[in-house]
């Protein structure tokens, strides 16, 4: 409540707000409008149809099937990715030479940190191409590894039992690297002496992770969670490139449904926008729920 606060607030807030309002919000608002029309996307004509698109959507089995898959992604991808991210970050930052000589990373930490980041520099197109070859039923690496074990591997992406999970695994794979770096950065900020004290008390590594690291990283974990949740709800590009939603819609996701309705097998932009609006509210509620559920007292260690 000191003098001179408002000049800063105004200078700092107004330019970003203007840019954001003009180039992001206003197109979005128009997209909301489009969802109440029958706009076909290639002429300027659009008729207002009220909530028709939304009632159609609630009776569209394919949309529900896709939403169900997104729900699974939403439950699994953030959890597994964050677990892997925390595990690797812990190893890299304090996995070295056991309890005694203080806290350090494993040997070769820098190399690991570099290598784990590799998926981030690959474009999605390449990730899809590589993994399609890994999952190749006859020449693929995966079945190549299974064969010596006497297992005749399934057709992976060609089998509705596995296709969805194969894509999910790739999603986790491509995300973990970034969160290792992110959590690693946050862990570095935790004072060493906290760990040294706990480890001297004889706490196991797991206990240390759960009792000390995660609570101290909670803000970061929360950010990671929300971001991954959003990625899980969207993330259709990988699905499109790897399975195109198949076989028999078994790996379909809501983003792909929307994409196909607008750009793929249909040009119904009104309907696609309605799916987008539903997706918006779904994501919003997930984010709000996640924030609510994870509200904890912030731990300060200054």
């Amino acid at each position: 409540m000191r003098h001179g606060k408002f000049p800063l607030i105004i200078t700092f807030l107004v330019p970003p707000l203007l840019l954001y309002g003009i180039f992001v919000l206003s197109p979005y608002v128009q997209a909301f409008q489009i969802s109440t029309t029958d706009w076909g996307g290639y002429t300027a004509d659009a008729n207002y149809v009220g909530f028709d698109n939304f009632t159609r959507l609630f009776r569209d089995d394919y949309v529900w099937n896709a939403i169900q898959n997104n729900a699974i992604l939403l439950a699994v991808v953030p959890l597994v990715t964050i677990a892997f991210g925390l595990f690797f970050a812990t190893m890299l930052n304090m996995g070295g030479r056991g309890g005694k000589a203080g806290v350090s990373g494993v040997r070769g930490t820098a190399a690991y940190r570099l290598v784990y980041f590799f998926p981030q520099v690959l474009s999605v197109v390449i990730i899809a191409v590589v993994w399609r070859e890994v999952y190749h039923p006859n020449n693929g690496l995966l079945n190549g590894l299974l064969k010596p074990l006497g297992i005749n591997g399934p057709t992976w992406l060609g089998d509705p039992k596995y296709a969805f999970w194969c894509v999910l695994a790739v999603m986790v794979w491509s995300n973990v690297g970034f969160y290792v770096v992110l959590f690693g950065a946050a862990m570095q900020a935790i004072p060493r002496d906290i760990y040294e004290a706990v480890l001297l008390d004889g706490a196991s590594r797991f206990v240390t992770l759960v009792r000390i690291t995660i609570p101290l990283l909670w803000d970061t974990v929360q950010v990671a969670w929300i971001y991954l949740a959003i990625a899980a709800l969207d993330g259709f590009i990988l699905v499109q490139l790897m399975t195109d939603g198949g076989p028999n819609h078994s790996s379909d996701v809501i983003g792909l449904r929307m994409y196909n309705t607008a750009f793929g097998t249909d040009t119904r932009f009104g309907y696609a926008s309605a799916i987008g609006v539903v997706m918006f509210f779904l994501t919003l509620s997930v984010a709000v729920l996640a924030l609510r559920a994870s509200k904890r007292d912030r731990i300060e260690y200054s």
Partner: protein, 442 residues
Amino acid sequence: MGGNDDTGADNANQGDKSEQNPFGVKEDAPLEVVIFNGGYGEDYAKAHEAMYNEKWPKAKITHSATQEISKTLQPRFVDGSPPDVVNNSGAGQIDQGGLVSQGALTDLTPLLDAPSLDVPGKKVRDTLLPGVVDVGSYDGKFYVLNISYTTYGIWYSSKLFADKGWTYPKTWDEHIALCRTIKAAGTAPWTYAGKHPRYMSWPVIATAIKFGGLDVAKNIDNLEPNAWKSDAMKTAADAWHQIVKDGFILAGTPGLDHVQSQTAWCQGKAAFISCGSWLENEQKAVTPAGFNMVVAPTPSLGASDKLPFEAIRGTASEPFIVPAKAKNAPGGLEYFRTMLSMKGAKDFTGKVSALSVVAGSADGANLGPGLSSVVKALEASGSNGFNWVYQNYYRKLERELVDAACGEFFSGRIGPAEFLDQCQKGADSIAKDTSIKKYKRA
């Protein structure tokens, strides 16, 4: 949303019509052409543009090529400032049924009635191979010009067959017997694009049409009730079920995409594959020397078939459109006439090794074994050729719904009855959906 300048530009770029200038091209009107930069590349189009400039030297041509036709051009359609010529092709193609239903396209009928540029005494219409007009027509109006002639059939390596002493089967029983022989020889008889199983809907429907006549296709195109469950379709599906039941399909096929399955086929891991005549070009890089791929019609089910064995599916592909709001629509039509001239067509065939829709344009051309076999197959098929167009009217039906059903059927998870049920359910869902415009095939 954007502009409302509907009445547009056409006045500004409308010149006087004459014998030499049937569409009334204004000689200095600029022309914008957008080409899909796919397997055919863009060089053939540059050649056509140069030909256009020969006749209209004052016209400035803007050429661009993209792989994302729909995303690139959609805002311009809405804005009312689309290009004059669009090669609407590729994975990012704009759904044609959608464009037609929104009135976004120029009716190309005047093109058909105009005189050919260099085939004396013939209208453009009379220079085209059969089915070209049909496949680009929606409710009797010609909106889409496809410039490449495509055959769909079953492909095999004539070298492999000669080496092993196999002959391509003309009847279904021979086909099954040969499959047994092939399998016994340690090769898989069949493979297909497992991730795009609709490739296998083509031989099934073709078998049904040859068995039951052209109405089988027409009923499917027109979304008639139970069109997918006609006797012909049932008989065809039952027959094809045999290759699944008897394990004639290369193990792992459902997990392969089109490139992977075609590559396996080129390596001799499977004997047959279902594809269109773009196959030879697509496989250029991996086809072994002397492989000698050839196309053949689907085997006949029996003596009672309505169409002879030689009947094959021929249709036109590689679509071109002139948007309704094109600034220089007469120029667009004139550009099409240039593509369809004998000179333009021969140049096209030479540059992209594909057949043009202009009759006789392949004469004397130096074609690969695959394309030569296509020409022969088309000659043999003659007036018995057939086609279906539901995938042009309702892209979603083939690309998503029938595709999914084929995947289930050919991986053996469902039987023939359930397969047809699932296709029919998909067709019904399109038929019931009031937001999708319906077309009738003449």
